[in-house]
Amino acid sequence: MTINHHPDIATLMAFGAGTLDEPYAAVVATHLAMSEGGRESLRHIQTIGGALLNDEPAAPLGSGALDRLLDSLDDEGDTMTLTKRPAPVAAPTEDGLPLPLQRYVPGGLDSVRWKWTGPGVATADLAWGKDGKSRLMLLRVAGGRRVPEHGHGGQELTLILQGAYKDRFGIFAKGDIADHDEDVEHQPIAEPGEDCICLVAVDAKLTFQGRLMRALQPLFGI
């Protein structure tokens, strides 16, 4: 799998800092699970956090803080704690979903309950435990079908899980991520052949407002 489209470095930095809303973090993590190069970039970014932490001024801890810690370790018991590395977790296969996505789609893509949202286009919302302002969803576009032109009210992250689509930014295939700011307009067309299935994080707070609501209505069936 050759990945040609990567997240904006600023997006990766937000992921490394831990400030992305969970739907966006889930999309980035799923992409990184598919991209060794991306994971290397993340390691570099996290080094920034390490250097900053190391350089933080020291805020004195309350007296007895160390004893309190050692007491909790006694409660942990020495033997029950990890003394070996855990067994390796199966890496994603060509057919299986990447590990970070498995939590959100536990039954696999075959189990997804799609909602028809237009000719050749279906979506499925994925639950993520909070009624936050962001949405995590799957988007399925039949080969050769066109996603209605749309703009974004906030950041939109789209990761291609299967198939491919093409828009004015190029061809996006499995593992590629499209990282678009608000004001970007584009009209993806699925490449001929198998369905194009994408994992998408969008800002839901804004989807109920004027222009964006009208723009997204045909796409997401709001």
């Binding site: 470095i9 800092a17 831990g18 994971r39 080094t47 390490g50 250097a51 190391n54 803080a65 050692l70």
Partner: protein, 199 residues
Amino acid sequence: MYALNMTDHIIGRTPVLVESDDFSSLLLRVAEQRDKAALAALFNHFGPRIKSMMLKLGSSEALAEDLVQETFVSIWRKAAMYSQQRGAASTWIFTIARNLRIDQLRRQSNKPYEDLDNLEMASDAPLGSSLVEQNQIIARVTLALKALPVEQQEVVRLSFIHDMPHAQIAESIGIPLGTVKSRLRLAYERLRPMLEDLQ
């Protein structure tokens, strides 16, 4: 390199503090020997720094202390997952504190991060740089961060230490979101040679 047999230094149940700047070696001792003296040495250095970071998020004194405790219990539990390819000890400890922050302060799942860690554990990627090299990288990155233009330092710190989403950074310093992102990109470009150890 540090030929201290730290378990010999435990008097009663309170470990004697070990002076060492080689945090990665200490962390490996925690992982491989379940060495509480090594954990105590890490606690004495990083505990007050993690507390400082947590206080900047608006957490109370008591909550910041609790989060420091929880961070170190996590470090104790997860030390075996630390390996040299994962970078400097301070970087790994930052990620433990970050994941805790997401869970405890943001009240969102940090599972996407844990899943990635598990994937990394399963990968057979060759070891990167040595412990000494990692410490040097941290030292160089620290200097490079201080050499960044002030407006770039500001957005980097607000993001990594103050835990502010980009939109909140934009709002708090009164600049467009796009400017926040471009400053972060510029900062990364400046740090890249040190981060990738190309010097």
